[in-house]
Subunit: 251 residues, 6 copies
């Protein structure tokens, strides 16, 4: 029995519900999905400022809910707070876009990335570059959709399909859609796209299951070792508890 | 029920046996491992010339044995023949080093790579670069081991552990060992290494299971679409059968 | 009369005091320094987790105190929250390490970077890479210092000087020290180093003055345009006020 | 008297004939061209799968025919089997695209590459990247031509010229055509192109002559030293003979 | 009191006058601008050949006029002779494009570059790459203008504005115009552009003031240390005087 | 009959003599070597300042002496003035280091570079990067030699051999020595080095012969087309003559 913690750094419960449903559809038998939603902060992270605010939400949710889980997934397309959460927890952590990018690398040479929201194009490009995978990107496209598309994505199917066709024509072997709200879109489009559309949540579920099964443990040295003792000022006790107690300092 | 085809491009049955045993240890319940061994060619691929010869073996094994399988793993550390096999088959295909590299990217910032055999160092560097992941490599080390270590790897544990310690000191968050013969070494070293050692075969099994479950299908355009009709001269019929029949050309 | 907002994302007032004093020493006549300190969060940001927590502090301080200022400086060596703060404010924003890196590029070919704290080495490397300047780095070195060195840096002079000598021998034309606590160290070492040591705070003050004088204004398109209207849940009103009122949406 | 071995990894004799004729046209007085054709495998290498199969053909031809030659040229536009053949032989070996790329670097800043066959675009991009020269590529274009164009290239002149004009407009200083079948096309187009079109076979002949004249010999260490003794299973004796006899192992 | 030496490597006095006027407009109170013009060589540097010839002019002007100055600016958009002049002088030296590029990095993610003169596009690309900043370039565009536009730039305003709009649409956060003759154009376009247009001369003045205030001094080792004693044949005595007297060799 | 113009941008005739002798040793029968020496400027280019001054010498020599030649070689290890001379002349032009780097790429994976003179290390790194070949460099080493070694290189044989051994141990497949004064050293070391040492002058002679034989002609567009008409102030008439007469402007 594996339990995956799915962290929605947005405060929109509808996105959590959609993500959780899609995650359950991809999960192996015996995998439980525990999905949590940010209590404060942005409704839909789409700017750098919201991404920063969402980072604190992601880490706080991780701190409060990771107990008993085997791996965690950050269900925000900008992989909000990924490296800090990976450092802070003892279980494996992945981001939905990270997982999709790594999966795409195993299915073809160059992936195509579709950013929903032109404003966030630069943020997505930075996320892809931060994973060291910019050279594997064959095509990038950003489109704007009306706000309601984020709550009822089915209406977005046609413009998304058209954009994926463009990515394919530009040489992409697979397509990744940036946006947690669009979980499940790949399946919804069925076989209509000329190249496989990867469901980022699906990729993350499978990757998290794999990492949980491997249980690699924490490194004992370097930037991902257990957090050292720290005395933080006035933060959520769950966050403070991520750091090793000072009494263990000499160990 | 998922069946993974594990292709050993070397002609050494002992390596196949070891790889298959390790693969079964990592496989999820319900996953069957079908391991096959090259009938001709190099015993242990360790030079570019052997890597080229092994490529034909890998593709031939893939062509003969993929029927009924859900995904394939190339169990040679230089990912011999990977892109051609990916193009030729309709099921997902991954390489053991590819899988380890992608997994390492999800566990830390920079991986360390340990090449067994200094002669092959350049080939491994080329493999890593061909995956576009050279920038994620924090440290690289090549060591020589006596030939018998490839058949009885337990004697190699101490020099490998020492090398992994060096990789960690150079900033690596995880370690990958190049060499199919060393499948299982990560487990054998237990918790003695300061950073997680990824078992490349284990990574490949988990990735192949994930890809099989996603069943992304073939792209209809680009370099990984189904092979077009071709008339090859005097090749193994299984290889010819990888190409679409000429009668389907007009479709 | 120019006013620079200097934001210490750490909760340690002593660091703010030191940074402010150094900033005043570098400032042109007619430049006022307004230094603020985080009220909650880490005392000294040195891990990715603290860096994430500090991001919210930086943005909150920026939101509360930017009124009446002409430019802002983030006085944390990991440039915590830089891009989000740049997006959110209408005045120019720079980070102390960003400013030092850009200045170093105008003084030689390759800079050397000295990370104080080996644990944070990966975070610093990521910061440098995120500025697209990894190729300009001639040498990188991380050293550990006792915790008291962060509060009384003079004792750190000798190990820092020794490390700078190593950076110079490795080909660096200039040296940058990672750590707000070490503001002023360049001057303290006087002419003893073989290559110029850039004071990151000094670089940031001069760059911020320049940007304030240029007053480039906000772009009207792209990822650094004024933030769109957003309805955030339960956040500091100063943060909400960074977003354009919904009533302006149609404008 | 210099003899160059020209290896056609395709089984199409007409391509060998064309390549040999063009090679003779470029060769210095006193250079003999010995052109050989694959006996098995693909007729025209245009996919990754055919490229893999062609690799074995190239190496086998090299092994059988290199005696008495001073340098070898691989006359396949994807430089099929280049690194392995370079490792295996004691004479210099170059590929036709490699030679054209290196020559282009000495004639301008950025080259343009014209791939004949859109399916193979990714393979050509990989070849260029594997030579570390992607940053020197100013423009890349892939066009489809009818199959008969590969046997009677003169009909392809106009579409090729049009594509070269596009490469020039995109900033290319020179143009390279991917496809052994198009040897001689540069001359056929005469002075009609706005930028020099490099004949890849011509470049390879001149480079091979130069390398033969330099006679650099084999390195005694590293990945291109003489192949060590190996016991291969059931391979062409010419291939086995590429490896040092086991009796020389202790030397 | 700070004095900046502004070096026009072109022989066109009108460009010097324009550049000096713009420089004075950007300079802080108390900064004097000393502008000098090449006596020989190209009128407007626009080809690589002119750029080479202009290099000698720049260095000669620097050698003759640097005494009493606190920093120097090379007022040629290809940063002609920058590294040599930096090496040769004891005061800081920057180039107008270098300064604009570094400033752009502090104002957004990706800059746009507008080359005036399509012939020089390759030279500008090389300049940007030589600063290691190609990865920060979001968009590049080259346009031709009639020769008279270089002497009376106001007529160039509309085509330049149109090109900047294209750069913004391609994702640039800021725009840089290549061409000393276009100093002041940013201000002339007022707020009409969708993204800030950086005045390269303005950026260089502010950067030079900052570097002058920091007075980092010469490194004592490496490629930017004081020039060693040298005996040059028949060069301008001012150039010879850049080298340390032989009598100081043993020091 | 092919004539190669060998341009020594230094004013040291002894270097010209040595280079010419080595060039003649590598030249094909029927190739004449016309070697010319700078009349003014640095004796041995070893700093960026000398490199700039040498650029004018190289271009002037090229302008005066190219008539009747079929290709030109710049015999300065920093490829002084290469791109401008390539643009200015109608015959092919290569640099000695450029030629060695391109040749090395055809002989192995990674080359090693030995800089004679630690001061010039940065300049050599920039030259290699400007050719886009930094990623092909396996190892770089800079050593100092006494000044007399530049005039009587035989005494430098042992330290150079020791450095080449280090390059080989670091993974280089070939070695390149930076310094025109060391032409012929490769042959002088005979078979003592573990990897081939490329003679840069020899590589340049062979490459220049090849380019001369190909006679690619000038591009009609772009940055290497014939220089446009220009009115230069007070320059050597040979330099002015490099530009198309104004009367041809309308053609």
């Amino acid at each position: 029995m594996t339990t995956l913690l799915v962290i929605n750094g947005n405060t929109t419960q509808a996105i959590t519900d959609r993500v959780a449903a899609v995650a359950r559809g991809f999960a192996a038998p015996g995998t439980a999905i525990k999905a949590v939603t940010a209590e404060t902060g942005p409704r839909v992270i789409a700017t750098r400022t919201e991404n920063l605010l969402g980072g604190q939400s992601v880490l706080t949710l991780a701190a409060r809910h990771h107990a008993g889980c085997d791996a965690a997934i950050i269900a925000v397309a900008s992989d909000t707070g990924l490296r800090a959460t990976r450092e802070a927890l003892s279980i494996p952590v992945t981001g939905m876009t990270e997982a999709a990018l790594l999966t795409a690398c195993a299915l073809g040479d160059g992936f195509g990335f579709l950013a929903i929201g032109r404003r966030g194009a630069g943020l997505y490009r930075e996320v892809i570059a931060s994973h060291g995978l910019a050279a594997r990107m064959a095509a990038f496209k950003a489109i704007d959709l009306p706000p309601e598309a984020f709550l009822s994505p089915s209406g977005a199917a046609e413009p998304i399909l058209a954009a994926v066709v463009e990515l394919a024509e530009a040489g992409a072997d697979t397509a990744i859609i940036g946006g947690a709200a669009f979980a499940g879109m790949a399946a919804a489009l069925g076989g209509r796209a000329p190249i496989p559309i990867l469901d980022s949540i699906g990729c993350a579920v499978r990757l998290a299951e794999s990492l949980a099964a491997m249980a690699p443990g924490k490194p004992r040295v370097g930037g991902y070792a257990v957090l050292p003792p720290r005395d933080l000022v006035d933060v959520d006790p769950a966050l403070s508890a991520l750091f090793k107690p000072a009494s263990e300092e000499a160990k």
